[in-house]
């Protein structure tokens, strides 16, 4: 469109039998009816006002003008934002934290706004964070990944070296096993973001450990690997070698761009389906050994205290879990009528076989529709139609994965594990809908 064809100039030049827009606007202004604001000055609205006699009663409630100001002006040009960002009207959709939860912001966690996530991919800027010593600023030119220990050919790899290897792209979720950890004793947080937001799902691109360990070779006695980050915590975990070779990936790509610093730039480990903590970020070292190291993060932390005082350790896989994301406390209902209930299901042990939803607290269940794609160890979207009659309701979702495992209730989990385990709460979530449409986090007896 040439400059002369812009809406304003076209308008100004257009001959008309009606009073010109400029005239009507002047008349409108003379009436002193303009309280404030650009909206009242838009030509569309001025036209409507001009048609009404000066003595007319107050106009009916305003509908949005056919042409907003954005329809009658030029927007900013290309590269106004060389790296794009969401609409200014989405400014509330951000990672949030629970300030009272941790002693510092550097060893803490933030939560993905799942209530606003419309598909299985979590936006890179909204993917939850978990740091043990803050977010390091790693210079990729100086970063190295060392693979050593019980290998035939130890290697020291630059980021460029890592990128030269044959690459794969796979969509996987990462969930902190402490997701829902504040809900063991009772319903505590009235928010989907805070009860379920320690999860994200992305397309990860990198080189498989099978390729890297094929390059280094492995000694006969090798059984375990230590994986370690370059952050201040030198965050490290022991992992069984079988898992590394099965499906782990050293990744540098996240949803088509470089891994975000929050997610381990320049390289992190992806351990598909296993607790977030072992997906070591800023990965700098893989040491192959014959025994686990029993590090702080796998003994003092990331172990689950049972009611009898014994603890479970090395409980790595994320068992099947699902949650309704709409409605939820942040997404209340707006009166009786038909709703599409939406949510996500995921399993660290495979794919989603199906999801059922209940509107009566688990008495009766209806099969939900799974939305494509349905991928292994990835978020899977489900939807179900619901005609809400405006009466109180108790909404739940329940996933079954392809191992046949059925998502348990919180009461069942508590009966087996007690309430002190912190980790691996994959219970069915109950949302209580009240007649005013508000939604609350509740637990059932």
């Amino acid at each position: 469109m040439s400059r002369d064809e812009s809406p304003q100039s076209a308008m100004a030049a257009r001959p008309t039998a009606q009073p010109s827009r400029a005239d009507s606007r002047r008349a409108f202004l003379k009436q002193g009816l303009v309280a404030a604001g650009g909206l009242a000055l838009t030509p569309g609205l001025a036209r409507a006002q001009a048609a009404a006699p000066a003595s007319a009663p107050a106009p009916a409630p305003q509908s949005p003008p056919a042409d907003g100001p954005w329809s009658q002006s030029l927007g900013p040009g290309v590269v106004d934002r060389p790296y794009g960002r969401p609409s200014q009207f989405e400014k509330d959709v951000i990672r949030r934290n629970v300030p009272w939860l941790t002693a510092t912001m550097e060893s803490s966690v933030s939560f993905t706004p799942l209530q606003n996530q419309t598909g299985i991919i979590t936006a890179n800027g909204l993917f939850f964070e978990r740091y043990h010593a803050g977010r390091p600023t790693v210079n990729p030119a100086q970063h190295r990944l060392m693979i050593h220990g019980l290998v035939d050919r130890p290697r020291l790899l630059t980021v460029d070296d890592i990128k030269r290897f044959p690459s794969v792209s796979r969509i996987h979720f990462i969930e902190c096993p402490a997701n829902g950890g504040m809900e063991w004793r009772a319903a505590q947080l009235n928010s989907l973001q805070f009860t379920h937001g320690m999860i994200g799902c992305a397309e990860w691109t990198g080189v498989t450990l099978a390729t890297l360990l094929g390059e280094t070779g492995i000694k006969k006695t090798a059984k375990w690997a230590l994986v370690e980050g370059a952050d201040g915590a030198h965050m490290a975990r022991s992992l069984p070698l079988e898992k590394l070779i099965d499906d782990c990936i050293v990744v540098y790509g996240q949803n088509g761009e470089a891994l975000r610093p929050e997610q381990g730039y320049p390289v992190r480990l992806i351990v598909p389906g296993w607790q977030g903590n072992v997906n070591v970020k800023w990965l700098r070292r893989i040491q192959i050994g014959d025994k686990p190291w029993m590090l702080r993060e796998e003994t003092s932390k990331y172990t689950e205290l049972m009611a009898n005082g014994k603890a479970r350790g090395f409980t790595w896989p994320i068992f099947a879990k699902s949650v309704i994301t709409d409605p939820c406390p942040e997404m209340p209902l707006k009166g009786a009528g038909i709703y599409e209930v939406r949510g996500f299901a995921w399993s660290g042990n495979g794919t989603i076989r199906h999801v059922d939803v209940s509107f009566d607290g688990g008495v009766n269940w209806t099969r939900a529709r799974l939305q494509e794609p349905v991928l292994r160890k990835a978020l899977t979207r489900f939807t179900a139609e619901w005609r809400w009659n405006g009466k109180p309701a108790l909404l739940q979702s329940r996933v079954v994965d392809d191992t046949g495992y059925v998502q348990p209730t919180i009461a069942e989990l508590r009966a087996v594990r007690g309430v002190n385990g912190i980790y691996n709460n994959n219970a069915i979530q109950t949302w209580q809908v009240k007649p005013d449409g508000k939604v609350y986090d509740v637990q059932l007896a």
């Binding site: 941790t102 510092t104 290697r155 319903a187 009235n190 360990l213 492995i218 009898n308 409980t315 059925v406």
Partner: protein, 229 residues
């Protein structure tokens, strides 16, 4: 060649490594001089490997030379650790408690190094790799040994004259050494997929609600800064 070689190689091929590699492997399976390595990167020197290898195992593998006494540890701890962890390991604010009652059962367990940690070597590993919090991996091996000795002594696990070093730390038997189950017992629930009349509607009762609790930060507007009530 290790037992891992076969499945790995199969994985390598199935992932679509270049045909050239597949051909090379197929044509010369017995070739002594392999040509199918990518060869990217460099071979780390012994000094590089030694410098990077900070992990310590329960059997003492990875522990460096050096030593530290409980008394020396008290000094270093007072300077480097007490501000967050408290003079006697009681923990300031929400920072981790290192010593004290340390119960593992009941309503609010308070696991500590003494009551919960299964291995003393983990102390050295963790203090060395991650502490002090604002300046990680900045202490000497002697200092880390000394702090380890002091924390073990705070927990009444070693006597006042204990000297921590590469020999003594692996020999410390922690009270909760056998308190862990390292084999994942899940699935530990065994639900069936019931679709209709799955429970008596009369039993469907809300046992707890987040409504009215003042724990939830705000979900719109700027980030919340709420602190414990």
């Amino acid at each position: 060649m290790s037992s891992w070689r076969r499945p790995m190689h199969a994985a390598l091929l199935s992932l679509g490594a270049t045909a050239l590699i597949a051909l090379a492997a197929a044509a010369e399976p017995a070739a002594k001089h392999r040509v199918d390595y990518y060869g990217y990167g460099t071979v780390p020197t012994a000094a590089q490997i030694a410098g990077w290898s900070i992990a310590v195992r329960p059997d003492g593998q990875g522990l460096p030379p050096g030593s530290g006494t409980v008394d020396k540890g008290a000094d270093v701890y007072a300077q480097q650790c007490a501000a967050c962890h408290g003079t006697f390991g009681e923990g300031e604010g929400r920072f981790p408690k290192l010593a004290g009652e340390g119960k593992l059962t009941g309503d609010r367990p308070t696991p500590t190094v003494g009551s919960y940690w299964p291995y003393a070597t983990t102390l050295f590993d963790y203090i060395d790799r991650a502490m002090p919090f604002p300046g990680p991996h900045s202490l000497t091996a002697d200092q880390v040994y000394a702090i380890s000795a002091y924390i073990l002594n705070l927990n009444n696990i070693v006597p006042n004259n204990f000297v921590a070093d590469a020999k003594s730390l692996p020999q410390v038997k922690m009270p909760n050494r056998d308190g862990f189950i390292w084999k994942d017992p899940r699935p530990d629930t065994h639900d069936k997929e019931c679709m209709e009349h799955c429970r008596d509607p009369a039993t469907v009762k809300v046992s707890s609600t987040a409504e009215g609790k003042s724990l939830t930060p705000r979900e719109t507007g700027p980030l919340d800064e709420m602190q414990p009530k």
